[in-house]
């Protein structure tokens, strides 16, 4: 009972913090961040309590901790919403709570809390730094506090609320609510420095690109709801008879079964939210937001939500599929999109110089892994990679933010402006920022899948094994290639940033960041290593027998027996492959980039000239989308709809009718009213008047004349009567 209430309460503290900050405390930075972090802490504590309780519940998948209430009436029934904790939401809750709390703490330092106000900072732009008179009489430049500090914590709290809501909800509609509120938050936070042209464009791009997926998802919800009469997870995904029926009924759409069609529609939501090809273009631009936001979007919330949905609906997508048999259409689509995205964005990452952009493309690539894993039926591997990735990607983003912060310090100190995010301006930072270096190294190695000691190795290995053992060689090779590139560009990033000698004065004067920023790095680094131990594959030589695969045993129960019966084949090929690609890629990256001097071009540029430009330009996809979609939709809206159809066609027709009526009226007036009606009338009037005029002569005003006229009339009338009478008498 306490547990149930607690689950309901989990999302609320951040929401409350949001409203309190917006309505009351927005003028006080201290109160605002205290509220936000306090709320995050409360939710975190609650989440840990729930997590601890949940992992001790036997058969949690079949008997989730759940409670629901009526939300709105639909005819004679009610639509019910509620909360539910099952194994999947338990593990999601774990990484969400930790990463959000760490990101919140980190933000205090990142936004320069405690620093003076900037000399000419204004809301909507990043702080430019303040000038202080030092003790020695010299002026020196220091970072200045973010002008919209309180607002940042308000928006982030709303973001956290939405993610908690999404994780604890027991049905797809409340999931969708959290999902969309996160869309709003990402819009607000990517466009946090809204006065920057690039930031406002990136914000709109993020919202609209994900909305493409969202409208399909909404259709999927409507489809599912109208077919099954519910959107509750347990009633749909935990009901084999229903799934069976959905899988065997044709939908009439592209030859898919109902389950396949709904699955595909819902999956399109994931494609948008988790930045899968071809809707991935928004994520790299999302770097326009402050770095903690990037960490929020890339690890704790947004993109993880997309994969979370895909994992959620897996029973629906895979309904009727038996491991070992060919994939159904929807699964094939997932496998192909995931694998392609993984490789495709890994290649782009190789060509990026911005430290955050490299990470952005690596996120897309890793999300591709998870989707591909689901596509080939490696359910727990996908969920496992989601968790480990959240930790090491949050770590990497916060680490990169720390690097940028250190670089900015150097820039302010030297007064020479260089791009603080360009890795070619860095170098040698390992000595200046040791804590950042070591934690970033751990995160980088986890991302590359460095064997045994990193979490990324275990989860990635499981995915490769899943693809190989299932016999999906194309997927396996694509993912292996992507893993090679991942290790390569990660080492490129580490080498360029931390190794060698400083390439600019700014890097020379970079400084380690404060504890609010480094503490979260250390905590996340801890999980980037240890999270992997929860899921060591039982078929792993040696270790596999010693350490139980807790993750598989816990999350794997989400699926019915038949689906978890993994393929019997346990080959060592995937293990060797992952060792070779991880170590090979790392070595290659180190070898190529280890000691690059200032101003040196990227060595790759010399080798693959044209291809490198293609990578640098991200395969010109942004330009292609502008040409194919953005431009035409502007034309359709501005010119076709608003101008031609509405103004020219419809209004033209209306004006034509009006003109016709006017012409008809004028014609009637000129050719009928005026000559005939008026003519007749006028003539009549004229006649009467003329008659009157001619009578006028007798009105002289003289009584004698009137008497004479009277006598004359009398005589005339008398004579007339006389004749008439006599005539009648005869």
């Amino acid at each position: 009972m306490i547990m149930n209430t607690l689950i309901w309460l989990l999302p609320l503290p951040p929401l409350l913090a949001f409203f309190l900050i917006v309505l009351f405390t927005n003028r006080s930075n201290r109160l605002s961040h205290t509220l936000a972090i306090g709320a995050a802490l409360l939710s975190w504590a609650g989440a840990m309590y729930v997590f601890w309780g949940a992992i001790h519940v036997p058969d949690l998948a079949q008997n989730p901790i759940a409670s629901a209430i009526n939300w709105f009436p639909t005819g004679n029934t009610w639509f019910r919403i509620g909360v539910q904790i099952d194994p999947l939401s338990t593990v999601a809750l774990f990484f969400v709570a930790w990463t959000i709390l760490m990101i919140f703490i980190y933000s205090v330092g990142y936004h320069n809390y405690g620093q003076p106000k900037g000399d000419h900072d204004q809301p909507g732009l990043p702080p430019h730094g303040a000038t202080l008179a030092g003790k020695d009489g010299h002026e020196h430049h220091v970072p200045s506090i973010e002008p919209m500090y309180a607002r940042f914590f308000a928006f982030s709290s709303l973001f956290a609320f939405a993610m908690y809501l999404l994780v604890v909800s027991d049905n797809l509609l409340t999931l969708y609510i959290g999902w969309e509120i996160m869309g709003l938050c990402s819009y607000l936070l990517i466009g946090f420095w809204y006065a920057k042209e690039s930031a406002r464009n990136a914000a709109v791009k993020a919202f609209l690109t994900t909305r493409v997926g969202d409208v399909f998802m909404l259709l999927g919800l409507a489809f599912l709801y109208s077919t099954t009469g519910t959107l509750n997870y347990h009633e749909i995904f935990g009901n084999p008879a229903l799934l069976e029926k959905l899988a065997t009924t044709g939908s009439g759409i592209l030859g898919l079964s109902v389950a396949g069609a709904i699955g595909l529609l819902l999956f399109l939501g994931t494609v948008g939210k988790s930045a899968q090809f071809p809707l991935h273009v928004w994520l790299p631009d999302a770097m326009e937001g402050p770095t903690p936001v990037s960490a929020m979007i890339h690890a704790a919330t947004m993109v993880s939500a997309g994969v979370y949905l895909a994992i959620r609906i897996f029973p629906l997508v895979s309904a009727g599929w038996i491991p070992g048999t060919p994939l159904n259409t929807t699964m094939t689509v997932m496998a192909l999109i995931g694998a392609f995205t993984a490789l495709f964005s890994a290649t782009i990452a190789v060509g990026q110089n911005d430290i955050k952009r490299v990470l952005a493309y690596s996120t897309i690539s890793q999300l591709g892994y998870m989707i591909a894993a689901l596509g080939v039926g490696a359910y727990t591997a996908a969920a496992f990679h989601l968790v480990t990735h959240a930790f090491f990607k949050a770590l990497l983003f916060l680490g990169s933010g720390s690097v940028i912060h250190g670089m900015e310090h150097g820039v302010l100190h030297t007064g020479k402006h260089v791009d603080a995010q360009d890795m070619f301006n860095m170098g040698g930072l390992r000595k200046k920022m040791p804590l950042t270096f070591w934690t970033f190294l751990i995160g980088g190695l986890a991302l590359s899948g460095f064997p045994l000691v990193t979490a990324g190795f275990w989860s990635k290995d499981e995915i490769l094994a899943g693809a190989f053992n299932g016999g999906h060689l194309v997927v396996f090779i694509t993912l292996a290639l992507a893993a090679l590139l991942t290790a390569f560009y990660t080492m490129r990033q580490i080498s360029l940033t931390f190794l060698g000698k400083p390439r600019t004065p700014a890097a020379e004067h970079a400084q380690e960041t404060g504890w609010t920023m480094t503490l979260p790095l250390v905590v996340l680094a801890f999980f980037a290593v240890t999270a992997g131990w929860a899921g060591i594959s039982s078929s792993f030589p040696g270790l596999g027998r010693l350490v139980p695969n807790w993750f598989e045993g816990f999350v794997g129960t989400m699926l019915a027996e038949t689906e978890t019966a993994a393929a019997a084949l346990h080959s060592l090929v995937p293990l060797f492959t992952s060792l070779v690609v991880a170590l090979g890629g790392l070595a290659l990256g180190w070898w190529v980039y280890k000691d690059l001097p200032l101003g040196a071009a990227d060595p790759l540029q010399n080798v693959f000239k044209g291809f490198y430009t293609l990578l640098k330009k991200k395969y010109y996809l942004d330009e292609a989308y502008d040409f194919l979609f953005v431009g035409p939709s502007h034309w359709i809206a501005d010119v076709l709809t608003a101008e031609w159809v509405d103004r020219k066609m419809i209004d033209g027709f209306l004006h034509g009718v009006a003109k016709l009526a006017l012409t008809l009226g004028t014609t009637l007036r000129n050719f009928f009213d005026l000559p005939v009606v008026n003519g007749t009338g006028d003539a009549l009037g004229e006649g009467v008047r003329n008659f009157g005029t001619s009578l006028k002569v007798i009105q002289t005003g003289r009584v004698q004349q009137y008497l004479i006229i009277g006598v004359l009339i009398l005589v005339t009338v008398g004579i007339l009567f006389y004749f008439l009478l006599t005539l009648s008498l005869i």
Binding site: P73, G124, Y176, I177, L219, T641, A642
Partner: protein
């Protein structure tokens, strides 16, 4: 007290007119007195309709608070009032938005007395349509609502007000002609204008000849006469082009009521008259209606996206949002008697209410910024968030409600509509998603150009923050928007009972 409770509807309906007469005798120079009298005059009906809301029993079938007096005996027309859950929702919307519109008009300086009188008369006209149960009376109020709005646009409107007001009144009148003829025909044939009787009798008349034509044909003609009248009002594509002009040129408060309530008269006409009176014809032509609704959704959104005039953009958004109402009506007409119809109808009525809140809010916020900058050109703003953070936050909130963000009101109704319409008109529903996508595009376009981007230095020092009076106008709307988004059942329970009864 007894009198109050037994004549609640009449009081709500005619108190505004009564106060309009009071205003008539006030000295025109006493601007303050006139404003406050008008505001109080509109607050009393609000209070009474809240009383109505709490005394209303959603579980009962049929109409409640009925009043019936002989009015025009020679042609069997009666003064007959009564409400069910659908009309109650609309009454609340009207009595809520009118005081807000009047409060929003406190900055009007020109001929305040006439202006306020027109608003109060307008309220009576709109309310009359929602509460009457007599077909002829329905028409009378339908027309009564038209005239004050014409003068409001024509006398207090923007630069192009002559054109806009004429287009507005001629267009609506053109629709009314057919409506009047059809109503007359029904009245003559059935011998009564009483809706409750007509709902039972009229759909049953199927056999025989009328005016030398088969009954089916005559009824189809009458059906289309009704549909066109209401379609113009909603407006359904392609009868929509009066709307951007009228809404853009009307004074701020006029736009609030035009979008907030007057459009709902059309939707209400469909729900109250077209579907119950012409179930067969509705089903026959539901496909056409769904097609037009989809076009309204898509082209309305595209049209909004194509505007560079802030107010015109918001005006076009109404076409887009009301399209969902019509889509739901079409779905309910086709699938009458099923769960889908009930869900779609729930969505339709709630969408009308929701759009009333968010559109009125949006028009008001456009007015707030127009008062300060005297321009509606989106390209003339830029980066205003930095100057007016509170206004910016409020605009963001209201715009998100208009966008249909989950957690706010618009989402609930749109979801219900999509859910109800999907199994019935799958293709139309799928296509309407294009419109939903562009809803996002135009809302973000407006926010991007007004609030975001480099600060336009021109407005520094000339853009005071939103005032307390203006906050008082928008705050109730925001509270309702949020409350429906979070807990829709307080209003959906009332709507659901009513639509379950009808469809």
């Amino acid at each position: 007290m007894e009198f109050l409770f037994s004549h609640l509807l009449t009081l709500i309906l005619f108190l505004p007119t009564l106060f309009a007469l009071v205003l008539l005798v006030l000295p025109p120079k006493e601007v303050k007195l006139i404003r406050w009298t008008a505001l109080i005059a509109s607050l009393i009906p609000l209070g009474l309709s809240l009383l109505l809301w709490f005394r209303f029993n959603p579980a009962l079938t049929g109409f409640q608070f009925q009043e019936q007096i002989t009015w025009y005996d020679a042609i069997h027309s009666m003064y007959h009032l009564g409400i069910d859950g659908i009309s109650l929702t609309m009454v609340i919307l009207t009595t809520l938005l009118t005081p807000l519109a009047i409060l929003a008009s406190f900055n009007i300086q020109d001929r305040v007395k006439a202006y306020m009188i027109l608003f109060l008369l307008l309220e009576t006209g709109m309310l009359g349509v929602f509460v009457t149960l007599d077909l002829l009376l329905f028409f009378v109020f339908w027309e009564v609502g038209l005239i004050p709005m014409y003068f409001l646009i024509n006398q207090w409107g923007g630069a192009n007000r002559g054109y806009a007001s004429l287009k507005f009144i001629l267009y609506t009148m053109a629709g009314s002609l057919g409506l009047l003829l059809a109503i007359q025909m029904i009245g003559v044939l059935a011998g009564t204008y009483d809706m409750q009787v007509l709902f039972k009798v009229w759909p049953g008349i199927q056999q025989g000849m009328l005016f030398g034509l088969p009954v089916g044909t005559v009824k189809a003609v009458a059906f289309w006469a009704f549909v066109i009248a209401f379609a113009i009002k909603v407006p359904v594509w392609p009868f929509h082009t009066w709307l951007p002009d009228a809404h853009t040129e009307a004074p701020t408060a006029g736009s609030m009521l035009l979008a907030g309530v007057l459009l709902k008269l059309g939707g209400y006409g469909f729900l109250r008259l077209v579907l119950p009176l012409f179930p067969l014809e509705s089903k026959m032509f539901a496909g056409t209606l769904a097609l037009l609704a989809t076009l309204a959704i898509i082209l309305g959104a595209l049209g909004a996206y194509g505007q560079n005039d802030f107010k015109r953009l918001v005006a076009y958004s109404s076409i887009n949002h009301m399209g969902f109402v019509v889509l739901a009506i079409a779905a309910a007409a086709w699938a009458a008697g099923t769960d889908n119809a009930v869900i779609a109808m729930n969505g339709a009525v709630l969408q009308m209410f929701n759009h009333g809140l968010s559109a009125a809010g949006m028009f008001f916020l456009v007015g707030v910024i127009y008062d300060r900058t005297h321009t509606r050109d989106l390209n003339a703003y830029g980066g205003l968030f930095a100057l007016t953070p509170i206004y910016g936050g409020i605009l963001l909130f209201t715009a998100m409600a208009s966008l249909g963000l989950p957690g706010l009101n618009g989402f609930v109704s749109e979801f219900l509509v999509v859910r109800g319409a999907w199994p019935v008109f799958t293709l139309a529903t799928a296509l309407s998603m294009i419109g939903l996508f562009f809803t996002g595009a135009y809302v973000l376009k407006a926010l991007k150009k007004v609030l975001h981007g480099p600060l336009n230095e021109r407005w520094v020092g000339h853009l005071p923050e939103i005032k307390p009076r203006e906050m008082a106008v928008i705050a109730p709307l925001m509270v309702l928007i949020l409350s429906i988004g979070i807990w829709p059942s307080w209003i959906l329970t009332v709507i659901n009972h009513a639509v379950s009864m009808w469809f």
